[in-house]
């Protein structure tokens, strides 16, 4: 990769901003307009949210998995693993309990 120029970096941020904008407008429009079934709406919401998460990580926080040093990548992936276990486990167990009450 060559030394990045100021203009190119600014374009990167603007691209990220544009993508994030679209991924924000779609879910808001969907909920305000209605139309889709609740389940379909939730799926689209989740997909847009995840996509925007990745967009902001990539363009604003410059997380580019190819270029990371190992320990940084391990830190982020391990935190994500802990979060999935704890948050996923909470929702699973308490949700299950809720259904049985």
């Amino acid at each position: 990769m060559s030394e990045p120029s100021y203009q190119r970096e600014v374009r990167g941020y603007l691209t990220g901003f544009g993508l994030a904008l679209v991924l924000t407008l779609v879910p808001f429009a969907l909920v305000l307009r209605g139309g889709l079934s609740p389940l379909a709406t939730l799926i689209v919401l989740g997909a847009c949210g995840l996509a925007q998460f990745v967009v902001q990580l990539r363009f604003f926080l410059h997380i580019d998995l190819r270029r990371q040093k190992r320990e940084d990548l391990q830190l982020i992936l391990f935190s994500a693993l802990l979060l999935v276990i704890m948050a996923g486990g909470t929702i699973w167990i308490i949700g299950n309990l809720g259904m049985r009450m």
Partner: protein, 209 residues
């Protein structure tokens, strides 16, 4: 020429000398903090999701009565724009475009942050008015644990921006000030990441289901 990337996030670049080298350890340490913060937020989200049902609502005010989606939309736009303006401040620093450029972009970010907070405080005050207080139900406890926690982070971020504006004026762009602005940038972008979860799960998700 190959650009060595020392840490996740925007790198200052070798032309910054000492500040660039020091940033490696400092930014990594800050990422450790951010990831622990991410886990706190993640568990608050999990609690909210388990409470967003009739049992959790306990007959109290629900999403439809308590949330003002127009205000949330404006807050989302403000915070997203502030992430972009902070990015511009970081780039002005990285490409050495002068203290004035950095100060202007940081000040714009600060104003957007304060705008975001005033809207949020107004919404929370409205919730208190209609009786949607934390002690009303498990759902509202989870809400008040999560959204104001993010708001408190933004308030700290605003305070941090003010401090950096002063430090930049007093000390100039010394390595310490540069690496602090670098970490503040990570913090600010991180808050916008958390906000994606808040508007998607807390507001839109609860209103859609």
């Amino acid at each position: 020429m190959k650009m060595p990337v020392l840490h996740p996030g925007l790198n200052l670049g070798p032309h910054h000398g000492e500040a660039h080298k020091r940033a490696e350890k400092l930014a990594f340490g800050f990422w450790v903090f951010l990831m622990s913060d991410l886990i706190i937020f993640g568990l608050m989200f999990a609690t909210y999701v388990t409470m967003a049902n009739p049992m959790g609502l306990a007959g109290g005010p629900g999403p439809k009565e308590a949330y003002d989606l127009t205000s949330i939309f404006i807050q989302t736009m403000i915070l997203l724009t502030s992430s972009l303006t902070f990015g511009m401040a970081s780039l002005a620093m990285r490409f050495e475009r002068g203290k004035a450029a950095i100060s202007v972009w940081l000040s714009v970010t600060l104003l957007l942050g304060i705008g975001f907070l005033s809207l949020e405080v107004r919404d929370l005050a409205h919730m208190i008015d209609i009786g949607a207080v934390p002690s009303r139900s498990g759902f509202l406890s989870a809400f008040w644990g999560l959204v104001p926690l993010h708001g408190a982070h933004v308030a700290i971020g605003c305070l941090w921006i003010m401090i950096m504006l002063i430090q930049m004026r007093v000390f100039g762009l010394v390595p310490l000030v540069k690496t602090r602005i670098l970490r503040l940038g990570l913090f600010w972008h991180f808050l916008d990441l958390i906000w994606i979860g808040i508007f998607t799960i807390v507001y839109l998700g609860a209103l859609a289901s």
